[in-house]
């Protein structure tokens, strides 16, 4: 079965989710990956959206973080202060699943500005929940299409801490959580090197070359000693994903 780069990215991201995870889910690609996991190998996963919906099981992907579907299918819906205080800061979330506008090799995330903060070239939406998701969840999975614009040597602004500017910042700040551990792109999977805290490529998607990966990355890409080839999406994964996307599009078009 053939598939698009976005499809393999979503499928591979979904595989990172475990059945007993409690995931704090960002909108867009993270939401697609988490729900795909829930509809395939991880039916027991708990999905939490920052709108207050806990244990939600949407039939279509939400366009916003607070679509009615999320509330109607949740185990319970709590206030936003409670969500951030008791559930996120309380240390109850095993995985934060995020995207980014800019990302560096230490997993630092910029969703604030391109350029200078006070005189930005592009004013992005901002951090939202991410600054505290990045430090309060057990670990962080990132999912993002690879490009030189997005994968930069140094982010213009650290909206949400990855492993900092040197890889040592989390420890220096006394942060006990793991931070970014996995980065899934449309070309490959990177994982965080336990020593340097830099991303290293551990798996390459079928048909993708190392040149392509480097051409779409603003830092010098490094590789694990053993790099595997990513397993292709199964027929089941693809059909569940496509059904989900189709239901979603139909619903959001207002049909």
């Amino acid at each position: 079965m053939s598939y698009t780069p976005t499809e393999i990215m979503t499928v591979v991201a979904s595989r990172a989710v475990r059945n007993d995870d409690v995931c704090f889910v960002g909108i867009g690609m993270p939401s697609a990956a988490c729900n795909l996991a829930r509809l395939t190998h991880a039916p027991g996963v708990t999905l939490i959206y920052e709108s207050g919906t806990i244990g939600t099981k949407p039939d279509v992907l939400p366009l916003s973080i607070g679509d009615g579907e999320l509330c109607e299918t949740a185990v319970t819906t709590v206030s936003v202060p409670e969500m951030f205080r008791y559930w996120l800061q309380g240390g109850r979330i095993s995985v934060g699943f995020l995207g980014a506008a800019q990302l560096d090799k230490f997993g630092n995330i910029n969703t604030t500005v391109v350029g200078d903060y006070d005189n930005p070239k592009v004013r992005l939406p901002g951090g939202g929940g991410a600054p505290e998701i990045a430090t309060s969840c057990g670990e962080i999975f990132l999912v993002m299409k690879q490009s030189k614009r997005g994968f930069v040597e140094k982010v213009d602004f650290i909206t949400s801490l990855g492993h900092g500017k040197t890889g040592k910042e989390r420890e220096e700040l006394g942060i006990k959580t793991k931070g970014p551990s996995k980065l899934i792109t449309d070309l490959c999977v990177m994982e965080t090197d336990p020593d340097t805290k830099e991303f290293i490529v551990t798996s390459i998607h079928p048909g993708v070359t190392r040149e392509q990966i480097q051409d779409n990355t603003g830092w010098t890409v490094t590789y694990a000693s053993t790099v595997t080839q990513t397993s292709v999406p199964t027929e089941l994964e693809l059909s569940v994903l496509r059904d989900l996307n189709e239901r979603t599009e139909r619903t959001h078009a207002g049909e």
Partner: protein
């Protein structure tokens, strides 16, 4: 004690030029009709507080009502930028807006502190985050037991909070249900509270004992505006108009298109148009 009034009178009487205003609703129950009334009455110099500014603040900013916006995520959810917010901040149209930027955890805690009558909120946040370097309202305190450094932000205490809710009862108590966001906190933190509701019912006898209810004596004015949160939604009444959110991007991208849209859909009409906007969405 809550007074039942028209939306026009509520905004005219209780929201003044220069006020600090929070119109809250986390995706759900966003008070769009009230925002349009503020535009119609051409209120000025407002400091607009909101975790997720959304389209309603894009419209207020593009219409020149705002001096400053305090926010934590300023986008069109699932679609992209708030183009009027950006045009004001980046290019000064219609004038340059000031911004004060936080994280969700900070603003949620700041609303909580506002409701709790505290001067500040503390939380474990902004660790390694550069917003703490550009926003002087992000400070820290040391825990007197563990010596851990915790982030501190000032409590949010709006002059006026505006929310949309599903129902009021005849006594003026207000019910919010579903994704309740920070509405209770925003209301209890404010000096004055304006609420638009889908409908007024006789009583809340059938409402769950722990549902989110704001008693009448915590509210200043209630106006009935069916559909008043469109294109946001009111759980139990109508779903989110996701198509409108997608279409807004093109309207907001162009100053003339935006101005024409505001003229036709805000300035030349009244809150009664909202009932019509949700007719086709109702199940």
């Amino acid at each position: 004690m809550a007074k039942f009034v028209s939306l026009k009178d509520a905004i005219a009487e209780y929201l003044h030029d220069g006020d600090v205003v929070a119109m809250e609703g986390f995706t759900h129950l966003i008070p769009h009709a009230a925002g349009h009334e503020v535009i119609r009455q051409q209120k000025k110099d407002l400091t607009l507080i909101r975790m997720t500014p959304d389209l309603v603040y894009d419209q207020l900013i593009g219409s020149g009502c705002a001096k400053k916006v305090v926010f934590s995520w300023g986008g069109n959810p699932g679609v992209g930028s708030l183009r009027r917010l950006r045009d004001s901040y980046e290019n000064g149209w219609p004038h340059k807006i000031e911004i004060e930027e936080h994280s969700h955890a900070a603003m949620a805690s700041a609303y909580e502190a506002g409701a709790a009558g505290l001067p500040c909120a503390i939380f474990r946040g902004y660790l390694g985050a550069e917003l703490a370097e550009v926003n002087p309202n992000i400070r820290s305190i040391k825990c007197p037991f563990t010596s851990e450094q915790l982030a501190a932000v000032p409590a949010i205490r709006p002059d006026v909070t505006i929310i949309h809710a599903q129902k009021a009862n005849k006594n003026g108590d207000v019910l919010v249900e579903g994704i309740i966001g920070v509405q209770k906190e925003a209301a209890l933190a404010a000096k004055r509270v304006i609420v638009t509701v889908e409908e007024v019912v006789d009583n809340f006898d059938d409402v769950h004992t722990n549902a989110c209810i704001l008693p009448a004596w915590t509210i200043t004015a209630i106006a009935t505006v069916p559909g008043g949160s469109h294109p946001s939604y009111a759980l139990g009444y109508y779903p989110r108009d996701n198509a409108f959110y997608k279409n807004w991007d093109a309207i907001a991208a162009d100053r003339d298109a935006f101005t024409a849209w505001i003229k036709a859909n805000v300035l030349e009409v009244g809150p009664e148009v909202f009932a019509q906007k949700v007719k086709w969405l109702e199940k």
